[in-house]
């Protein structure tokens, strides 16, 4: 086979292998006790994206240089079945990721189209808010790259001015932290975690942590603003509870516990979750690993050769 094609197979296979190992590592670490320790949104996001980020770093920082540095010049080379299978798995990961991305985009577009039917109207203060005439208590930042804040107009009459202002502040905090982009990255991450319960758990935990952090960023240490936001959360939760369009709408039992936790946090703020070092630890560990592997490129190349030629 042509050497360029072999290189592509090597890259795809290495990606799949690294991703598999890192996904397994994350799953084991999570069930081994990490779920009790990690609380911050940043740490949860880092853990969720570790397999993809780690696989890419190992691919570009180790496998590719090792291959290019030590691969002899051949016009062509035979390949075994193992590398083809691994490359196929890699393509499956990317295909599934693209599919999830398309579904997310379509669902988001469908939501925006629905809201546009009943014509959005105004902006509030400095942050543009689209008020939508719907009878579900919609309060959301929608979209990945071009984000919009959508709020059901009915909330203007249900919430006080102070409460509504804090609702907008909360959604603005999501907007500024680019939380939707982070969510999108978790949705489209081409890894095995997307197919495992631990992946869904990490995403869900991140969403919860992101809500807590958006609350903090929105109201800071002002006690009146904290109380106003707490009150707004309860009002919206009551309206959501009345929404009995269909049973599946009521399929998120974590929602109410989350509101309770957030209200308590707003009324009696705790210290920040002590996980800010996790990301730095992972980054440092990764850099050290790359440095440690530098002298081993020859050996790594031998491994890759074994991978290329092995057949069952």
């Amino acid at each position: 086979m042509n050497m360029l094609f072999v290189l592509c197979l090597v890259l795809l296979a290495t990606y799949a292998l690294n991703c598999m190992l890192l996904s397994l590592l994350v799953a084991l670490a999570w069930s081994g006790g990490l779920h009790r320790v990690l609380q911050s949104a940043q740490a949860l996001l880092a853990l969720r994206l570790l397999p993809v980020a780690g696989a890419v770093v190992l691919l570009l920082g180790v496998a590719l240089p090792a291959f290019l540095a030590h691969e002899a010049e051949h016009p062509s080379e035979d390949v075994g079945s193992l590398i083809c299978i691994l490359a196929g798995i890699s393509l499956l990961l990317f295909g599934a990721a693209i599919r999830r991305g398309c579904v997310a985009w379509l669902d988001t577009r469908a939501l925006l189209r629905c809201c546009k039917f009943l014509d959005p109207l105004l902006s509030t203060g400095m942050q543009r808010v689209e008020l939508v005439d719907v009878n579900v208590p919609l309060v959301a930042v929608v979209g990945g790259l071009r984000q919009q804040i959508l709020i059901a107009r009915a909330l203007l009459s249900v919430c006080s001015q102070a409460e509504f202002r804090e609702i907008v502040a909360h959604e603005t905090a999501h907007l500024r932290a680019r939380d939707n982009l982070k969510l999108l990255s978790m949705i489209i991450a081409p890894d095995f975690l997307a197919w495992l319960p631990v992946g869904r758990t990490l995403t869900r935990r991140w969403r919860v942590a992101a809500e807590f952090e958006a609350d903090k960023r929105a109201v800071g240490s002002d006690p009146l603003r904290r109380v106003a936001l707490a009150s707004a959360l309860i009002r919206v939760a009551r309206l959501m509870g009345r929404n009995d369009y269909r049973d599946t709408v009521l399929a998120m039992p974590i929602g109410l516990q989350e509101v309770e936790g957030r209200v308590h946090q707003l009324l009696a703020p705790q210290r920040d979750a002590p996980n800010s070092k996790v990301v730095r630890l992972l980054a440092s560990g990764g850099a050290l690993l790359l440095l440690a592997l530098l002298p081993l490129y020859g050996w790594i190349h031998e491994l890759l050769e074994f991978l290329v030629h092995f057949s069952f």
Binding site: V103, A104, W105, D107, T108, A110, L111, C114, C115, F117, L118, D119, D133, V134, N135, V136, P137, L138, A140, V142, G143, G144, I167, E171, D179, N180, L183, L184, I187, R200, R207, A210, P223, L224, V227, A230, S231, L233, I234, V236, A237, R238, M240, G241, R242, N243, Y245, R246, T248, L250, A251, M252, I254, G255, L256, E258, E260, V263, H264, L267
Partner: protein, 156 residues
């Protein structure tokens, strides 16, 4: 204020929304193409509509077909019905904009529900709540009100 969509465009929107949405005005309600056409006719009239009058507006359809359609819309609680002499006359129970709002809201509720488990790229203020624990929300409300009072006293 939003302009009411022209009849022709609204008809197809309504049908598309109605076919996609679920459990809107009544659980599991869906509108077929003929039903949405007849519903649009009823909305377009300023007064009530009899079966005969509806048939005149829908050439090519049998009297019994139109009668059955109106009856189905009545049973789906989209039309009201009263007797006028020996015949029934029909009138809308919900306005065009009201029905559109209901259908759109249900569509949004579906998408918000799905987003919790899956996909639409959005961050909500409060995700859909589990079986409504009114007592818990009342307790939280009481805590918030107590804190309001405390802060007001502290300001004084």
């Amino acid at each position: 204020m939003a302009q009411r969509a022209p009849l022709k465009v609204a008809k197809s929107r309504l049908r598309r929304l109605a076919i996609v949405a679920d459990g809107t005005l009544a659980p599991g309600i869906r509108l077929g193409p003929l039903e949405s056409r007849v519903l649009e006719l009823v909305w377009a009239r300023e007064s009530t509509l009899s079966v005969r009058q509806a048939q005149d507006l829908l050439p090519g359809l049998a009297y019994t077909t139109v009668m059955t359609t109106l009856d189905r819309l009545f049973r789906k609680q989209l039309l009201g019905r009263r007797r006028l002499g020996r015949a029934f006359v029909y009138e809308p129970r919900i306005s065009h904009d009201g029905a559109l709002c209901e259908l759109v809201s249900a569509q949004i509720a579906d998408l918000l529900a799905e987003s919790g488990g899956r996909s639409a790229i959005l961050s909500t203020l409060v995700r859909t709540v589990g079986s409504t624990d009114i007592a818990l929300l009342d307790q939280l409300d009481a805590l918030v009100q107590a804190e309001w009072e405390r802060l007001k006293r502290a300001e004084k």
